[in-house]
Each structure stands twice: as structure tokens, then as C-alpha cells.
């Protein structure tokens, strides 16, 4: 296992020696000043910043390649189609997906999960059946299943977690039953930073022949993924969290599953023949991509993956773990501060609360110092309820962050204490 999430080794690419100060210069926005101070962007779990290569790819697409895809007989349309399919192939490579046909391009992780819940779910989850998720899911991996269960008269069950924010796998044998139709868990928790042992969960579910969807929104920004190694059935990612554009994401699905699934939305692109009496549908993945897709976004996502694959992920894993360790040790020196989420295996995400100050107030004061952190429930209200806190403040680091960013955060927390007379 080379990196923290348990990723694929990124193959035979020429890698640049990793240096956070150098990669920073690839991200124009990081040079921005905020309220008269350098921007300290440590809200990467919400969305990541974009390297120049991605911004350029989107611009180049509109400047010289734009046309609709899979339609025109003319060269420009072929160029646009090539850019789109190149993006798909890039994502397939990043996830180590055997065939690009197993990548459905969607709007985001949210849409990917909704697609599986609606298409696979409606076909397989019936009355009295069960869907198994975990206690640390993002709302986007709770609500679609809840809606499905309500519609079908099925039951949503939850793998519990312990105080450190680790899933209690001992409960799995009890929770995986002959009524379980699908398991959906997050690879990495966005609010706690926990890296889940998804491979074990997948293996356990497969013993019962139950397919598993992995929400990879927070794992993909930390290195290439190997869906073959994981043996998951579905894997969902968002482009904007992995240094690509907003509005584009991808769903990996095993071909045998995708091929047996009915369409998710109807429209153009996803059909083979249409008459008023009957429509036959295109094969995968086109069947799931109704309408004109986000071509520019896909080209941008392809460029993001291209950028990521040239990075040295072993070095990055070490760098991000250093940021995490440094941040956690500095934060625990702040009086009255409590870290929420202390799992043994964590990504570079730290949630915390401070005695006597609401997270929202921490966020406002930090903003004055140019420090962008997320405050709130992070779309994981059940996690907040578990810890009995209304909200947390969260710092989430990407490979372009440095120890200086941690120091700025600590400085800002000093200001918080001053303002609140703590």
C-alpha cells in the first residue's frame, strides 16, 4: 500500500519531484489576497482549487473544439467528441477501471449515487428489503437511499461507529442479512477524515453476493484509486473535489451491473431507436447520459487527472500525513479545543470544537485573518448528533497546503480567543 487511502500506484508516468511550494504556483487562486492578507485556503474537502492546466483545458475546449458530441459528421464535432471521450478515458485510468465504457459521466457524486439508487435500487430493492449505509455518510449517500426505501417500503440500516469515528465492523455479520440488497459506504469521511476499511466491507458483502457502492468524493483528491483491487461494484467521484471543474463527476459501475440497469433519465443521446410506441436504449455508458453532457467540464476533468497522474503520490501521502500530524498537535495545544474524529487512519482533515465559541463564530474570525475553513454540519448531521455538537469547524488540507497554513490557522484561533475573552 503506497498511499494513505490505499490507492493504486500511478503507473509509468514521468513524475516531478514533489514540492508543495512549486505545485502552489500551478494554482493561480492561491496567490490571491483575502482581506489584505494572503489567502489560506484549507477548505479543500468542500471543493479544491484548480491548476492552470485545468483552466487552460476548459478555455482551449471553448476556443477551438466546441461542438456537440456524437452527432455531427463534421470535423469539429469529432474533435469535441474526442475531447469528451479523452476525459472519460482519463478518469477510467485514474480509477484503474478496465474499460472506459464502465465510466458514466455525471454531474457529481450526488448524481452518481442518485443514479444507482434510482436505476439499480428500484430494480432490486423491494418491500421488506434492506439498504445498508454507515453512520458517517454525507447526506448525499443517505437521502437517495432513504427516498428509495420510503418508496419501496424497504429499510435503511446503518453500520455504527465508535467514539473515535471508526466503523464498528464487528457489527457487519449482524447487519448483512438475506434482505440486504446493496451496501453504500464512504471511502473517506468528509467531516471526520476517517479512512474506512472499504475493502473488508466489500469482501464481507460479496460473501452474501451483495453489491457495494463506494462514495469516493473525499478519497480521489488524495491519490489514484484502484477499483479492481477494491473490487467495488460502484465508485462515485466529483470532479470539483479532485482539482477539476464543478458540474462534472463520474460513476464507475461494473459492466455486468450497468448493462442490466434501466436508464436513469430519458432524452437524447441515450437511445438507439425511438418511435412513439417504443424506444430502445443505447448501450452503456451512453444509456445513462441523456442529453448534451458537460463536455467542457469533462475536458477539464481529464486535464485534472492528467495533472494528478504526474504527481508523486508517495511523497504527497507523506506530506499530507505530516500536515495532519502537525495540525493535530498544534490544535491540541489550544486551550478548550477538542478534535472530533480521532480514527487511527485519517486523511488530512481535522474537525474541532472550542469551549465557549460556536463554530460559526470561529469561521467568521478566521475569515478576517484570510483563513478559509468550513464551519457547520458538513452535510453530515447524524455525525454531529453522534458527537452531540451542533456544528464543528473543519480544516481540510490538499497537497498544495503547507505547515505555514497550519500556523495561520493557529494564529486565527488565537484571535478567536482574544475576541471572545477566553
Amino acid at each position: 500500500m503506497t498511499t494513505t487511502v490505499g490507492h493504486a500506484a500511478a503507473g509509468a508516468f514521468v513524475k516531478r519531484k514533489f514540492d508543495p511550494e512549486t505545485v502552489r504556483t500551478d494554482f493561480p487562486i492561491l496567490a490571491r489576497r483575502m482581506r489584505g492578507k494572503p489567502l489560506v485556503y484549507i477548505d479543500n474537502a468542500a471543493t479544491s482549487q484548480k491548476p492552470r492546466q485545468v483552466i487552460e483545458a476548459v478555455r482551449r475546449y471553448y476556443e477551438s473544439l466546441n461542438a456537440n458530441v456524437h452527432r455531427g459528421v463534421y470535423q469539429l464535432s469529432e474533435d469535441a467528441t474526442a475531447a469528451y471521450e479523452w476525459g472519460r478515458a482519463q478518469v477510467a485510468q485514474y480509477l484503474n477501471v478496465p474499460s472506459p465504457a464502465e465510466i458514466v459521466l455525471v454531474r457529481s457524486t450526488t448524481e452518481a449515487i442518485n443514479l444507482v439508487a434510482a436505476s439499480y435500487g428500484r430494480g432490486h430493492v423491494g418491500e421488506g428489503d434492506e439498504v445498508l449505509i454507515s453512520a458517517m455518510e454525507h447526506h448525499s449517500n443517505i437521502v437517495p437511499w432513504q427516498m428509495l426505501c420510503e418508496e419501496q417500503g424497504a429499510r435503511l440500516r446503518v453500520i455504527p461507529m465508535n467514539e473515535r469515528g471508526e466503523l464498528i465492523l464487528d457489527e457487519l455479520p449482524r447487519l448483512l442479512t438475506d434482505r440486504t440488497r446493496i451496501v453504500a459506504v464512504t471511502h473517506v469521511s468528509n467531516s471526520l477524515g476517517t479512512i474506512n476499511p472499504v475493502k473488508e466491507i466489500i469482501a464481507a458483502a460479496h460473501e452474501w453476493g451483495i453489491p457495494v457502492l463506494i462514495d469516493g468524493a473525499q478519497a480521489a483528491p488524495h491519490g489514484p484509486i484502484d477499483v479492481v483491487e477494491l473490487d467495488c461494484d460502484f465508485y462515485a467521484v466529483s470532479g470539483h473535489k479532485m482539482f477539476g471543474p464543478t458540474g462534472i463527476g463520474a460513476l464507475f459501475g461494473k459492466r455486468s451491473l450497468l448493462e442490466a440497469m434501466p436508464p436513469y433519465q430519458g432524452g437524447g443521446e441515450m437511445i438507439r431507436t425511438v418511435t412513439f410506441e417504443h424506444t430502445t436504449f443505447a448501450s452503456v455508458p451512453a444509456r445513462f447520459e441523456a442529453g448534451t453532457p458537460n463536455i467542457a467540464g469533462t475536458a477539464g476533468l481529464g486535464a485534472a487527472v492528467d495533472y494528478l497522474q504526474k504527481l508523486d503520490w508517495d511523497a504527497i501521502a507523506e506530506h499530507e500525513q505530516d500536515l495532519l500530524t502537525y495540525a493535530e498537535s498544534k490544535l491540541s495545544e489550544v486551550p478548550g479545543l477538542r478534535i472530533i474524529g480521532t480514527a487511527e487512519r485519517k486523511i488530512s482533515v481535522v474537525s474541532f470544537v472550542m469551549d465557549g465559541v460556536h463554530a460559526h463564530d470561529i469561521g467568521s474570525v478566521a475569515d478576517q485573518e484570510g483563513v478559509a475553513i468550513r464551519t457547520g454540519h458538513h452535510c453530515t448531521q447524524p455525525v454531529m448528533d453522534f458527537y452531540n455538537v451542533p456544528a464543528t469547524a473543519r480544516a481540510s488540507f490538499a497537497f498544495y497546503n503547507t505547515r505555514d497554513d497550519v500556523d495561520s490557522l493557529i494564529g486565527a484561533l488565537g484571535q478567536v480567543r482574544k475576541v471572545f475573552g477566553l
Partner: protein, 153 residues
Amino acid sequence: MTYMRELYQQVILDHNRSPRNFRELEDANRRACGDNPLCGDKITVYAKVENDVIEDVAFQGTGCAISQASASLMTAAVKGKTVEEAEKLFRAFHAMVAGGADGQEGEADTEKLGKLVAFGGVKEFPARVKCANLPWHTLHAALSEVDAPVSTE
């Protein structure tokens, strides 16, 4: 730092630390719940209204310093006022904190607002306007006897 002092004025910090009228009102005949899902603020406002006069008012809940202090100062400001006076005060308060940002530019009547002027700094922090307004929206719902919970979303 001085900029922060405008948002977190001493009165606000004080009311956040020791909120006034923070209790359940046993004999309330008006009540409403409000929440700000984005930040997890939750509040219940209780009022006892007799002949259109707010005889007593109290609140309970959790939230950031701005919403807690706003609720505390609000209860102090509207106690003993008529329902109509309280609604007028809400409009003046809203005009002050929203600073015309939502096209509701009104004169911020500092005289009428009294201690509530402490929230004048909020208009420089658009993300926090909701926090300051939440208790008032909830009071408004209680007074109008609206059943549905109030949400700032």
C-alpha cells in the same frame, strides 16, 4: 481585529455569555421554533400575549454568539411592547442588519433600536445576517401563530 470588534461588540459578547430570558415560559400562549440549518442554530421563542401586549417573552436554544445575543437582546427589547410595536422594531432591526442588501433599504432608526444598535456591524458580514435575524423571524412566527417551523433557508 478592530473590524471584528464591530461584529462582536461587548454587549453581544455579554449577552452571548449570559443570555437573558433563557428559559421555557410555562404560561406562554404563543410559541414557535426556528432553525438555521446551515450553521445548526436552533431556537424556540415563547411569548405570553394579553390584549395585544407581550406580557412576557423567553427563548431556548443553541447557536452562535450572534444568534444567541440577538435572541437575548430581542426578548429584553420587546417585553411589555404591543405586538405591533414589536413588529415595527423587527422591521427597523432588519433594515439595520441587512443594510439594504436585500433591497429592503429602510432607515435604521437608531433611537427606536436602543441597545439593538450593537448589531449594526452585522451588515458588513452578509453570511451572518441570518444569524441575527433568526430569533426575530421566530418571534414573528410565534406572534402570527404560524404553525410551520421557521427556517432561514
